[in-house]
Amino acid sequence: MLLQQKMINRYLNTVKKLLFYLFLTSLLVIQIFPIIWLLNFSLLRNGDLFGSHLLKIPIPPQWINYVKAWTQGNIPVYFLNSTIIVFFSVLGTVVVSFMAAYACARLYWKLSGFVFAFILLGMTVPIHTTLLPNFIWFGFFNIINTRTGVIIAYIAFGISFSTLVFSGFLRGIPRAMEESAFIDGAGLAKILFKIIAPMSQTPLVTVSIISFLTNWNEFIMANTFIASERLRTLPFSIINFEGQYSSQYAAQFAVMMLIALPPIVLFGIFNKQIMAGALAGSVKG
């Protein structure tokens, strides 16, 4: 009798566990299915789109879609622009924010708290409210429709978050590190770049990746500030391609995959840092 009860219990537990995993997995499938669908159709023929199947095994995979996307979609140009803009934006964001965070977190001055609060206030300004005025304002300085203008805007919008992450880390470093270097006769530049920066790998990686993702994916500022086709960034390739080859659905899917690929690869490698960074930004944001 007891044995039977035990077996029933064990059986019930297994069923519970199964249902539990079923729930999680089906939710996961719903959440990720659109992306699987995207990948699937980027490898099919155009005509395969019209049918009652949800997915179709691509035999043979139509890599030609990607070739079309790459060549007819003008992707190399967009890709280069994105790379240039994102490279300088990330570099600028990291350097400028690291310096500011160091001044606020480690140096002794009266206004440090106030300046720090002012920098964080930047997070509350929605990008969208600056689109119009900056369109006019950047025009005064002749940096509208240039990569420089976009880079400046990207750095400015990255500063608050990055300074927050850096200062959180810097506040935890023991004072002795700098003091002994100072006694040995090192200047502030040397202390900052030779001692503090090498210790700060974790926040440096977090900030770099998050600002890479943000800027690589950014669309609305680039759309507002850049008008010439030859300066536009990668997200535009799909809009442009769609405009020119509106019936080449499969190739459009390939263009989308190409835009999405760098973030996905990066996420595959750095998913822990990215999620930690996302968390750090939203706690205060």
Partner: protein, 295 residues
Amino acid sequence: MQSIFTRKRNIIVLITPALTLLCFALLAPIFVSVYYSFTDWSGLGPYGYIGTDHYRTILFHDPVFWKSLKNAMLYLLVTVCIQHPFAFTVAVALSKLREKTSQIFRTVFFIPAILTVVVTTKLWIYIYNPNFGLLHNLFNGLGWDRLAKTAWLSDPATALGAIILMMIWQGFGWALLLYYSALMAMPKELLDAGSVDGVSGLKLYRYIVIPYLLPVINSILIIAVAATLKTMETVFLATGGGPGDITQFLANYLYQKAFVSNQFGYANAISVLFVIIAMSLALATNQISGRSNTE
């Protein structure tokens, strides 16, 4: 100690680049906006000063402005009442798994959040396509003809829902991540004490976990409020606010006023109101989360 750590010159050198950039690209534009909001500028050519006319029109005679705010409220409501409870439930489920397994789940759930909104929006436009979209094929397969033929994004009855669903989908990984880390940061003793006292299952969450996490949940919800205001790209790319302003949101509306109807002055006035709304929300955020931190 008169040292390099207090020298004014060092501080100024370190802090100036950040402050200059913030003032140039974030602060100055707000003043530019305020200036043009008092004019009737079309974006080109000469313009005149017209006082607070725009503000009065927006607040008292512009149904689209209020419609945009109402849509943001609805989106917020869906976020708070559907997305968040759901994310919390999944976070609880994931917290029961081994770290390795839950890591895999969380990572996959987060993928939509790392993609550019341009790709996710275009993708969803295809999903909603009434001729060959994913939903069309799904409903076709089930034999639900009427649903299969629905043009989700251009039908006034479904457009707003369709837009909100896209945004909920993309933001789900975020919400999950926030709740999961809140759960992980809970002291284990609290849960153990609960189970010793014979509190278990749903009751454990009802009486111990949720009350304990209330401050965190509070700030997560406030983040959600801010996020709902920052909605633009999805609408801009998918519907342009249409059909007939049914899916209009504030940012998209001011953008259209400026670049489509050439009412630069008017659009800047909307922009200024937008800043005020966002700033007051942020202030309220600080008040509330500040209070819950000291409790």
